[in-house]
């Protein structure tokens, strides 16, 4: 599904702020994989997702999605096959536009001059109903009026209304209150399952990294230092993960939010 070959990315090359964010990284993702990604602050987790979604071009290496070379494809074109959620719930929606207008843009069928039809609205209502947030009755309200949790759930709906080939989740529940976060996680699970989506999810919560998905990778200094799945992963505890990190990276895992959460 997604194949990453030896990509590297250096930010601010030649300056005092030079940082090798991704260091000769390779990763093969099978169709239907749900991979959780953990690692210390600045390990390159978000940078990896940015490289896949095309926020920047990598300095070296190549990226293939479903057999197609997307290494130098601009991000808005990749967006056809890649759904994405950020930590900040404000990033995924246009606040000044209504729920149905936001969804119409995301649903994206029809020509440039097509208008919202009755059947579109029915479709949006049906899509919003399972969120159980009452959004299906608020189609004509501006998104700016919604709470962070509602906006993130809506963004999730928008990112998956045309099932993408791969879904990238960048700590998409980290900015939500615990109840909303739990709800969005449940939604994520069921949507991924229903559509058989391939998914990469960055999280700082070690427990949910092990609970969710079928594979966990751990990153450090722009590299993948641990890649576990199957039986080995099932037996793993958070303590094992921390120990494994220390063995591989040669130092204790430091991620302030991770420590606060566990």
């Amino acid at each position: 599904m997604l194949k990453i070959f030896n990509i590297s990315k250096t930010f601010n090359p030649g300056s005092v702020n030079e940082k090798l964010a991704i260091d000769d990284l390779s990763l093969q993702v099978a169709p239907g994989d749900f991979i959780t990604i953990i690692g210390a602050n600045g390990a390159g987790k978000s940078t990896l997702l940015n490289a896949v979604s095309g926020s920047f071009y990598t300095d070296r290496g190549s990226i293939f999605l479903d057999g197609k070379d997307i290494t130098m494809v601009p991000s808005h074109k990749r967006a056809r096959d890649i759904g994405r959620l950020f930590q900040d719930p404000m990033l995924g929606t246009a606040p000044g536009m209504t729920i149905e207008e936001n969804m119409a843009l995301a649903a994206g069928h029809g020509g440039w001059l097509s208008r919202l039809s009755h059947s579109d609205r029915e479709r949006f209502r049906a899509a919003l109903k399972p969120l159980d947030m009452g959004l299906e009755d608020r189609l004509t309200q501006p998104v700016g009026l919604l709470s962070g949790g509602q906006r993130q759930a809506l963004t999730l709906m928008m990112a998956t209304i045309n099932p993408p080939k791969i879904l990238l989740l960048d700590e998409h529940t980290a900015a939500l209150d615990p109840k909303a976060a739990e709800k969005v996680i449940h939604l994520t699970e069921s949507i991924v399952k229903e559509n058989g989506l391939t998914c990469l999810m960055v999280t700082h919560n070690m427990q949910s990294a092990l609970d969710l998905g079928n594979r966990t990778i751990m990153m450090d200094r722009g590299r993948i230092i641990l890649d576990i799945s199957g039986e080995k992963r099932e037996k793993m505890t958070v303590e094992d993960l921390l120990r494994a990190f220390k063995e591989e990276a040669g130092r204790a895992l430091n991620n302030d939010r991770m420590l606060l959460d566990s």
Binding site: K77, G96, E101, G108, W112
Partner: protein, 318 residues
């Protein structure tokens, strides 16, 4: 001049300049771009329209002015999306360049006279002569143009392309996530808004039967003032309500200006007045938001000497 004809002139001018306000409604309110090429584009529409009309094509002059405006918008958009030039600077650069182009268009002259030229206004005047609407040509053309642009905007901004343009001003990242290139939406948006500005300039020049190189001077500030007045009147709401608000703002602005002239305010004060209106309209809400903070600051400063906490010694660390 009696008060009725004064008001009528204000209304006609308000409608024609209201077109530029609608153009800014698209670029400034929707696309979130302050298009500083508006002055030059307005003059471009006026001069191109005048030249084409003088050469004997009254209807074609309208299309030519809009096409020229669109081209100007294309250049402004290209500079800011493809050439790495800041959007304000792109507008200023195009505006400066257009000054030379406008004089060239008018055949090396900074003034063109259309006293004997056949324009849409003379055509309308002929068509209406003898009917009960005789003498209302300018008003009718203004109304038709404004209605056409308002209807176009209301319909267009609900299409997928229109939604994408609005989202570009609201959250460009979300536009990219919807696999739409914000560069494309910015270009389309500025082309359309500048075509409307060109139309506005063309109609104003033909209504007053002359065009000079300064016809568009300060129009961006005047239109912005009108836009913000309209917003104050109509508030937020549907696209239709806000577009109508923009036109109402333009009419209100012209009305106030006409009344001010009546009280012997010199005509050259128009631009200063519009500048002050823009300042008040933008700074007003800013200070309104900051009011609690400013109050707190003031109270704190006043009371500080008396209520400064005493050092209790050893109890806390601050």
């Amino acid at each position: 001049m009696d008060i009725v004809s004064l008001l009528q002139t204000a209304f006609e001018l308000g409608l024609i300049s209201g077109l530029t306000v609608l153009a800014l409604f698209l670029s400034y309110t929707m696309l979130n771009i302050c298009d500083l090429s508006t002055d030059g584009c307005f003059t471009l529409g006026a001069s191109v329209g005048a030249v084409v009309a003088i050469s004997g094509h009254p209807y074609l002059s309208i299309a030519a002015a809009m096409g020229a405006g669109m081209l100007s918008g294309l250049v402004t958009a290209f500079l800011q999306t493809k050439m790495g030039i800041n959007s304000l600077l792109a507008g200023i650069i195009v505006n400066t360049g257009l000054y030379s182009i406008n004089i060239a268009v008018m055949g090396n002259s900074s003034l063109l006279n259309m006293n004997k030229t056949e324009t849409v206004f003379t055509k309308m005047k002929d068509a209406l002569s003898g009917t009960f609407l005789s003498g209302q040509g300018k008003l009718i053309i203004g109304l038709i143009a404004v209605a056409a642009v308002v209807i176009f905007l209301v319909v267009f901004l609900k299409t997928r392309l229109g939604l994408a343009i609005r989202a570009t001003g609201d959250n460009p990242d979300m536009v990219k996530a919807s696999s739409i290139n914000p560069v494309f939406t910015t270009i389309v948006g500025l082309c359309i808004s500048n075509a409307i500005t060109g139309l506005s300039g063309c109609l104003l020049a033909q209504a007053q039967k002359s065009v000079n190189i300064d016809i568009g001077q300060g129009i961006v500030t005047i239109s912005l003032a009108s836009l913000l007045i309209g917003r104050a009147f109509m508030g937020k709401g549907s696209i239709l309500k806000r577009a109508v608000g923009a036109v109402v703002g333009a009419l209100a602005f012209r009305l106030v200006y006409t009344v001010a002239l009546r009280f012997n305010l010199p005509a050259y004060m128009l631009k200063l007045v519009s500048a002050i209106i823009v300042i008040i309209a933008i700074a007003g809400p800013y200070f309104k938001n900051r009011l609690p903070e400013l109050r707190r600051q003031f109270a704190h400063r006043k009371g500080q000497a008396v209520t400064e906490p005493e050092d209790k010694g050893g109890k806390g660390d601050a």
